[in-house]
Subunit: 124 residues, 2 copies
């Protein structure tokens, strides 16, 4: 006992320290859309996509992952299957697994789009 006694509390180590990320991270590149990862696990990813006017994420499909696009800044046109919508700040759409989807910034300003996918489309 004495110095060797370690309480339950003192021994406790959290599995992962709390870490804050910010939705207002941005990085733009004239060459192509930028993807900034905030968090990812095997179960999901949360990214901020940064698109200069004219930049796009080409149509593609995830067989087994659902995706959400939420515009944070600017405007972006989202295509999901045969449907299309232009989203402004604070608007969110779902691209369900198995449905082709795409994202495009027709300008005139930059666009930042919060993107979630579950499960992660490219797990490590």
């Amino acid at each position: 006992m004495g110095a060797r006694s370690i309480t339950r509390e003192a021994r406790y180590t959290p599995p992962m320290p709390i870490e804050k990320k910010r939705l207002d991270v941005r990085r733009f590149d004239a060459a192509k859309m930028q993807k900034l990862n905030l968090f990812e696990t095997g179960r999901f990813f949360l990214d901020v996509y940064c698109l200069e006017p004219g930049q796009a994420q080409k149509p593609h499909v995830h067989a087994d992952s659902d995706k959400l696009y939420a515009v944070l800044e600017g405007a972006a046109e989202v295509t999901v299957g045969a449907e299309r919508a232009t989203l402004g700040p604070g608007e969110v759409v779902l691209a369900p697994a198995g449905v082709e989807h795409a994202l495009e910034n027709h300008g005139p300003g930059r666009a930042a789009v919060l993107t979630f996918a579950a499960p992660h489309t490219h797990p490590k």
Copy 2:
């Protein structure tokens, strides 16, 4: 053929019509924290939690789902395991599967917290 001919395009029905939701939805209730669902599938849910000052989501654990809390409005104290942080607008934290987590609005204003869990913690 003739009238019975249906082109591939005309036959196409998207699996789900595009539907916009908004991050600025709010509903507060003096009785308890409100959960407003934006989207949910078997793979995830995306909710906005609305907390009056003093309201909280009690400590709980999801064995197999990761959760994200992103403060949209006001401030909220998030506890994850033994760690604790107060988040302001645009700040995000991860509560990994298996780790106890909780949320509390210490005021003085209302708080709105975007909450994402994958997989869905209570699939239909």
